[in-house]
């Protein structure tokens, strides 16, 4: 798919992310909007072998969002891909919803593992990649880590094991691990809490081929995923430099927006910014775009509650 088309899908997803987190009244907009371009490229770049009708298909590709707090981003691409109706999105975090605040494998078909207790997803991804290799499945495993997340010790246990596990009969070259390097964690900038640098040489020292890309450039993401797929004998690691809160200028690169829901008025402004419409042109824009108009009036109604 053309980068421009992926970008358009990602923009729609970002609008939904803001919408659903605002309806929920809590959640993590910053990290959802930093990771969404990676997820959109996976799900809509003609790459992922998944079938929403058969979420338990043995040979499906697996996506494990280890930074589970960014699950609103995953929900938006899953809805768009047909795993569940888009109308469910605004049930996020509500009692009885399959869209739990962090991923719940049993609640929602298509979620591969419970994550969100940080540091655990990559170990599961290693196990899945190994199990698939052992039966010569063509399926691939993708694991997305957060940057603050890799302060967890379990990640480094998994990092040490990844290039060694299954060798020599079953090397895990069916595994691509991507770091959503948005430079911010809950409390502050990562450099102020516990700096991860030098990140490239660390992963290389653990035996991983490492690529470094702009995680918002669809051509670069696509190329890196291709190269990871072509790498034989080892799993691959991609450091994707991203911007926390990407797409909404008022939220970008601001630790405040790690784990805070926008108020309805803030959400409406954020959606306007996402769509690149000036305040002056907003009413005219809404008059022509009925879908956005519906989302905005729904949010405005929320304000009055």
């Amino acid at each position: 798919m053309e980068p421009a088309r992926l970008e358009a899908i990602a923009r729609e997803c970002r609008v939904q992310i803001i919408r659903m987190i605002t309806h929920a009244g809590s959640g993590h907009p910053g990290g959802s909007n930093s990771v969404i371009d990676l997820l959109v490229t996976l799900y809509f770049g003609g790459r992922l072998r998944v079938d929403p009708k058969r979420p338990d298909w043995d040979d499906r590709d697996r996506v494990i969002l280890s930074k589970g707090h960014a699950v609103p981003a995953l929900y938006t691409v899953m809805a768009k891909a047909g795993f569940f109706p888009e109308s469910l999105l605004i049930t996020l975090r509500k009692l009885g919803s399959p869209l739990q605040g962090h991923p719940d494998r049993l609640a929602l078909p298509g979620i591969e593992a419970a994550t969100g207790s940080l540091g655990q997803g990559m170990s599961i991804a290693l196990g899945e990649a190994l199990g698939l290799r052992m039966r010569n499945s063509p399926a691939r495993v993708y694991c997305i880590l957060g940057d603050g997340e890799i302060q967890e010790g379990q990640v480094w246990e998994a990092a040490m094991a990844g290039p060694k596990l299954g060798q020599p009969a079953h090397p895990l070259d069916n595994l691509t691990v991507i770091l959503d390097y948005n430079k911010i964690q809950l409390d502050d900038f990562v450099t102020k809490i516990l700096d991860l640098e030098p990140i490239i040489t660390k992963w290389q020292a653990f035996g991983w081929p490492v690529q470094e890309i702009d995680g918002h450039d669809f051509a670069q993401i696509t190329k890196a995923l291709d190269q990871a797929e072509a790498t034989k004998g080892k799993p691959s690691f991609i450091v994707a430099h991203t911007v926390k809160g990407k797409g909404v200028p008022s939220m970008e690169n601001n630790p405040e927006w790690h784990g805070k829901a926008p108020k309805p008025a803030e959400a409406i402004a954020a959606i306007r910014e996402l769509l690149g419409v000036s305040t002056a042109a907003w009413e005219d824009y809404l008059a022509k775009d009925s879908a956005t108009r519906a989302i905005v009036s729904e949010l405005a109604a929320l304000e009055k509650k």
């Binding site: 593992a113 207790s117 170990s123 196990g127 379990q154 596990l165 079953h170």
Partner: protein, 308 residues
């Protein structure tokens, strides 16, 4: 059958079952010689994975393997398995991954290595997770039954095994069933519930008590979670006095489970025998005597409990 450690019976059973079921794989964290999975690793090197001294990753990798249809047995000392509780909680329990967690070297019976190597809080921790049964076999025959059951059972399990040899207590032809206990002795004056390493001692205690005219029901609680409420309540109704004996911290284990169940269904006086405080280095027999888990200690507690 001669006495055998349940870890040894586990290793042998796995070897046999692994020959016919290619889904079975083992994961270790540099203790395969102690957990007794080493023989499986030797026979099936492509299906045995030693992750090094990294138990969290081992448990997570096991979960991933389970999600692709393998039946992983992830083994280490009980204390090191339960030390990775958060990974068990999310990657295994909440994910509902079909992982068989195997904690060997449970309890003070490991002896000389001392407290840091003793699994003494594992039952309490796993009891709090909604979907992981806890099984502790009492002898070789039961261990073999339990391992075969674990392979068939769809869903996570926690198996609690011993380092020390266990005397045979199960009747010939015994079949393990989840949630079902074995009544090994029929007495009627008092109920003694043991599990794993304390079952034989409970039987021996019952023999001592019989000399004083006290006839004990002895129940083997291999299935700690779920427990056998029917058998427990029936025995308690008849005896009116229940004593639990376990090689685990006295709080939160088998005794806690029994007391909670009886408290809600048939309030009955209960005495919980178990490990008080931390464990320590020493010979296993001496440690059991110190904590009142040897036959004499259990019998003495029963007499005191009954006021005799």
């Amino acid at each position: 059958m001669p006495a055998k450690a349940s870890r040894a019976a586990f290793g042998e059973a796995l070897l046999e079952l692994g020959a016919t079921d290619p889904r079975i794989v083992t994961l270790d964290a540099d203790l395969s010689k102690s957990t007794m999975t080493a023989a499986f690793a030797k026979k099936f090197p492509d299906r045995a994975f030693n992750l090094g001294i990294a138990e969290q990753n081992m448990i997570g990798v096991a979960a991933g393997l389970a999600l692709t249809g393998k039946i992983p047995f992830a083994a280490s000392f009980a204390c090191f398995i339960i030390g990775r509780f958060e990974t068990i909680r999310i990657s295994v329990a909440y994910t509902a991954a079909n992982v068989k967690l195997v904690g060997t070297h449970s309890g003070i019976a490991i002896g000389e290595d001392g407290y840091s190597q003793m699994g003494l809080e594992d039952i309490a921790c796993i009891r709090a997770l909604p979907n992981i049964p806890i099984i502790q076999p009492a002898d070789e025959l039961e261990t073999r039954q339990v391992i075969a059951f674990a392979v068939q059972h769809q869903g996570p399990l926690y198996l609690r095994l011993t380092r020390q040899n266990l005397e045979a207590v199960s009747p010939a032809g015994y079949r393990f069933q989840l949630g079902k206990w074995q009544k090994l002795r029929d007495g009627g004056h008092v109920t003694i519930v043991g599990s794993g390493g304390t079952v034989y001692n409970a039987l021996e205690a019952a023999r001592l008590l019989a000399g004083d005219g006290i006839e004990a029901d002895v129940l083997n609680a291999a299935s700690i979670k779920p427990l056998d409420e029917e058998m427990l309540v029936a025995s308690a109704r008849r005896t009116g006095h229940v004593v639990t004996a376990e090689d685990h911290n006295v709080n939160g284990g088998l005794g806690g489970a029994v007391a909670e169940t009886l408290g809600e269904t048939l309030p009955t006086p209960v005495r919980r025998l178990g490990v008080q405080g931390f464990g320590e280095s020493g010979d296993p027999k001496g440690l059991y005597a110190k904590h009142g888990l040897d036959p004499g200690g259990i019998a003495a507690s029963v007499r005191k409990f009954l006021g005799k």
